[in-house]
């Protein structure tokens, strides 16, 4: 039997970003003994990278805002492919989740009357994003981190042990979920520092592992984003949906090469920044698609007036949803109107006074100054699309965040459905809070209803340990860094922002080659804090996720949101009704199948004009009037 340390919990939360921490807070407040497993140090999760804000229809900046408007915007942004129940819950609950953060100590920017200030963002009808300058994600993660600490302080008062009911396992990575029959019974992993194995006995596991961006070369995501939760869920028998939809954020840095892909917040545009090509033209006016034509300005004058008088003017096209802006930038660069380093210009220097820029966008100012020697108060930035977010993820029940596997829950980026084919900026931080809490509640309720605690089978533990150590066994194999670089290049080139059938077939071919190369790779050194070994283990997850992305993308014969087909350039209402579901078969091969969408509830359908619905739905789906 494998030598390891063993712990027992009611709920184990894998991931310590916004969704994981909010889930853990909820599970602990429901009286459950809870563990948080984080791949990095506590407080370093990718949520810190979120810049612009957290969308919630509080109506502080414009009192016309309410959950129905937010719901409509979310569905439009996702091109109606969203799970409507998730979008509904999200729009309804987001304000409470934001206000709750203030009781944990968060300090958002304020309106003149002292309430939480809200800013404009792409696809949102009204100023809706609660924010702190352009470091909102940091505020969110720190606030939740400090709330966890405050719960630990309560436990210390009561028991003399800070970690009696809520413990953070930092720099600890889960490599396999354990099951008893159909149900979850625990999780197996290793400590980064020592390389030793650790086993959690737990009837409920919440996945909150974030996204998959590290499978792509140009990405705003950190090394942690290797699709661990997506792959763990699949290996445990859960299903993934919408994996073909990857959001390329329109504005990532393009220069210097070492920072290519690092995010430039949408707030630059929300606060007045404009996109120009090398001819100095504000090109976004040429790219307003028919479905959005009624809501966006046709002239620069009107667009500029909107910032002061949004009730009587239409929005600037720079604030279209992200998929539209990313494709537009891609086209401009392809047409030869790009900047010297292959992007377009994003200019805020000619739009706002310097001191206003440094006040509203301090971390952008800092980032460009330090990394690119560019002073954004005096000159334009060069930007281009970067892989930012995966809309796809674990198929979950909207109300409880439960997957199809009993005891397995998912929230945040690792869960699928909420954002449909394209996520609106600002809807991610609110998603984390709303569904993080629901996952924590769902897990706690599940544990309460259990008759008997599922058990871990020793043979499964031995197998998980053998899998984890496999890369040390072989000699003379390839280095994981080389395979990773090639995988990223393949996904970037062949399943990137614009997709073609033959390229995706080529990608699937390469992925199957990677599969055999990964089985034979070699890791040098020993188990103590060995990044080569960690990458080797993560690579297996990245490969599984890449197979899902490429497989689903090849199957969906239309263009929608974060999935653009060169050979099927338009949106097809027949395809809107279908979800593509990924699962592993008995041999561990990814299978993609079609599933019908559940039709939208009638009262939600009535929130839209029939003329708008006609753009997305088939005739038989339209309300009978």
């Amino acid at each position: 039997m494998t030598e390891l340390e063993r712990h027992s919990y009611d709920v184990v939360v894998i991931g310590a970003g916004g969704a994981g921490l909010r889930a853990a807070i909820e599970a602990r407040e429901q009286g459950k003994k809870t563990a948080i497993i984080c791949k990095s140090l506590f407080g370093k999760a990718h949520t810190v990278m979120a810049e612009g804000g957290c969308a919630a229809a509080m109506g502080n900046a414009n009192s016309n805002d309410n959950w129905q408007v937010h719901y409509r915007d979310t569905m439009r942004g996702g091109k109606f492919l969203n799970n409507w129940r998730m979008a509904e819950l999200h729009a309804q609950e987001a304000p409470d989740r934001v206000w709750e953060l203030e009781t944990y100590g968060a300090l958002f920017d304020r309106t003149p009357d002292g309430r939480i200030s809200q800013r404009n963002f792409g696809g949102h009808t009204y100023p809706r994003l609660a924010h702190v300058g352009d470091r909102t994600g940091l505020e969110l993660i720190r606030t939740l981190q400090q709330k966890i600490v405050s719960l630990q302080q309560e436990d210390f008062e009561a028991t003399g042990d800070y970690e009696a009911n809520l413990k953070v396992y930092a720099e600890c990575t889960i490599t396999e979920l354990m099951k008893d029959g159909d149900a979850i019974s625990g999780a197996f992993g290793y400590w980064r520092e020592s390389g030793r194995f650790i086993l959690f006995d737990a009837p409920a596991v919440v996945l909150a592992t974030g996204g998959v961006g590290k499978s792509f070369k140009v990405t705003s995501n950190s090394w942690e984003y290797t699709g661990d939760g997506h792959a763990l869920a699949m290996r445990a028998g859960a299903t993934l949906i919408n994996m073909e939809f990857i959001q390329f954020h329109p504005t990532g840095m393009v220069w210097p090469p070492s920072v290519k892909g690092i995010l430039v917040t949408e707030s630059v545009r929300g606060d007045g920044g404009v996109l120009k090509n090398s001819e100095g033209k504000r090109f976004m006016f040429e790219y307003v698609p028919d479905v959005f034509r009624a809501q966006y300005a046709e002239t620069e004058d009107e667009a500029d007036r909107w910032y002061k008088d949004p009730d009587n003017n239409r929005r600037p096209p720079e604030l279209l949803p992200r998929d539209e802006v990313a494709r537009a930038i891609n086209s401009e660069v392809k047409a030869g109107r790009g900047t010297p380093h292959g992007g377009v210009f994003l200019d805020v220097s000619s739009r706002l006074p310097a001191e206003e820029i440094t006040r509203r966008l301090p971390s952008m100012h800092h980032q460009f100054k330090e990394l690119a020697d560019v002073d954004i108060t005096a000159e334009p930035m060069e930007v281009g699309p970067t892989c930012h977010y995966v809309m796809g993820g674990v198929e979950v029940d909207p109300d409880t965040a439960s997957s199809v596997v009993p005891g397995l829950f998912a929230a945040g980026e690792v869960a699928g459905g909420m954002h449909g084919s394209n996520r609106l900026g600002g809807n991610s931080l609110s998603d984390l809070l709303v569904f993080g809490r629901r996952a924590g509640m769902g897990a706690a309720t599940y544990v309460d209803q259990l008759q008997e605690r599922p058990k871990i089978d020793d043979a499964d533990v031995d197998a998980a340990a053998a899998d984890a150590l496999a890369p040390f066994e072989l000699e003379g194999g390839e280095n994981p860094y080389t395979i990773h670089q090639e995988l990223q290049q393949s996904m970037n080139d062949l399943v990137g922002i614009i997709r073609k059938e033959e390229e995706m077939e080529q990608a699937l071919g390469r992925l199957s080659e990677f599969r055999s190369r990964i089985a034979k790779m070699t890791v040098e050194g020993h188990r103590q804090f060995n990044p080569g070994w960690h990458l080797a283990l993560d690579l297996r997850n990245m490969l599984t996720v890449s197979e899902c992305v490429a497989g689903a993308a090849l199957m969906r014969q239309e263009s929608r949101g974060g999935h653009t087909r060169d050979d099927f350039p338009t949106m097809d209402p027949e395809w809107r009704k279908k979800l593509l579901v990924c699962a592993l078969d008995a041999d561990g091969v990814v299978n993609v199948t079609e599933e019908q969408q559940i039709p939208m509830r009638e009262d939600l359908l009535e929130l839209f004009e029939v003329d708008e619905l006609k753009k997305y739905l088939t005739d038989e789906e339209l309300p009978a009037k």
């Binding site: 990095s40 140090l41 506590f42 370093k44 990718h46 810190v48 990278m49 509080m58 304000p95 409470d96 206000w99 709750e100 203030e102 009781t103 944990y104 100590g105 300090l107 958002f108 920017d109 304020r110 009357d113 002292g114 702190v132 940091l138 720190r142 400090q146 600490v149 405050s150 630990q152 302080q153 210390f156 800070y162 520092e193 950190s222 090394w223 210097p256 090469p257 070492s258 920072v259 690092i262 995010l263 301090p362 980032q367 330090e370 990394l371 690119a372 280095n479 994981p480 860094y481 670089q485 890791v523 040098e524 050194g525 020993h526 103590q528 804090f529 060995n530 990044p531 080569g532 070994w533």
Partner: protein, 250 residues
């Protein structure tokens, strides 16, 4: 554009280690962390280094570069001459785990010792009203990315292991100041700053401010005002008298 850079990196673990020399390719626009990554990918696959965002936002890749506490992801290679040897060592104030990775658990322990934000009893969620000018003081401190470079450089604990128990360090004294300046925090912070977190140890040499990658004015805006608040109270004759009277047995 590209040249062979000379790097000297500390390799070892808690048992000991040494500086090792490497020659590695450096390209235009790169930062120290890029070069460390290239070393990993080409020469030393097991070199331990902590990093996450690579954009100066998460505070993971702290180290000492030519002796200066810095984030490796924000230290550009063009700040060095091409023939200059760049020496990278782990943060000295914390125990080494391996290579450039240190055990920073001291900081998480100190974080736990600062009582959390105490919400006002009479306000429900959604009823908080604060003015921008009033939140800005604490917001400056909440820019902190917890890279712990200020802790690393602070001479009170750098090379003074014995002070670690009674001194929370600039990061967590700043956290106390942040809560004290929060417009709605209902707890008393000033007594604890001096008695439990060792504010008195700080003799305002401003080293912490100097190394802060977020350019937070830790000393001027957090530590000095906190010292003034503590002193004001300690030597205020009315407070002194009040304390005396209240303490008198009934």
């Amino acid at each position: 554009m590209s040249y062979k850079g000379k790097f000297r990196v500390w390799r070892g673990d808690s048992e000991g280690g040494e500086l090792k020399d490497y020659e590695v390719e450096v390209n235009e626009g790169e930062v120290v962390l890029d070069v460390i990554h290239r070393l990993q990918a080409t020469q030393t696959p097991d070199m331990a280094v902590r990093w996450n965002c690579k954009a100066g936002k998460c505070g993971s890749c702290s180290a000492e570069i030519n002796g200066m506490p810095k984030l490796m992801c924000m230290c550009r290679m063009n700040t060095f001459a091409e023939d200059e040897v760049v020496t990278v060592t782990p943060m000295r104030t914390f125990p080494v785990i391996r290579d450039l990775v240190t055990d920073v658990s001291f900081n998480y322990q100190k974080a736990r010792e600062v009582p959390a934000f105490k919400p006002p009893a009479d306000l429900k969620p959604g009823e908080y009203r604060m003015q921008q000018v009033d939140v800005e003081r604490s917001q400056e401190f909440r820019k902190c990315i917890e890279c712990f470079l200020c802790q690393d450089t602070c001479h009170v604990i750098r090379d003074h292991e014995e002070n670690k128990e009674s001194f929370s360090g600039p990061r967590f004294l700043m956290r106390v100041a942040e809560l004290d300046m929060h417009p709605l925090d209902a707890a008393d912070r000033q007594h604890a700053a001096q008695e439990q977190h060792g504010l008195g140890f700080c003799n305002i040499t401003k080293c912490c401010t100097e190394v802060c990658p977020e350019h937070i004015k830790i000393t001027d805006n957090a530590l000095i005002p906190m010292k003034e608040r503590v002193v004001d109270r300690k030597y205020d004759p009315l407070v002194w008298l009040g304390n005396k009277i209240r303490r008198r047995p009934a």
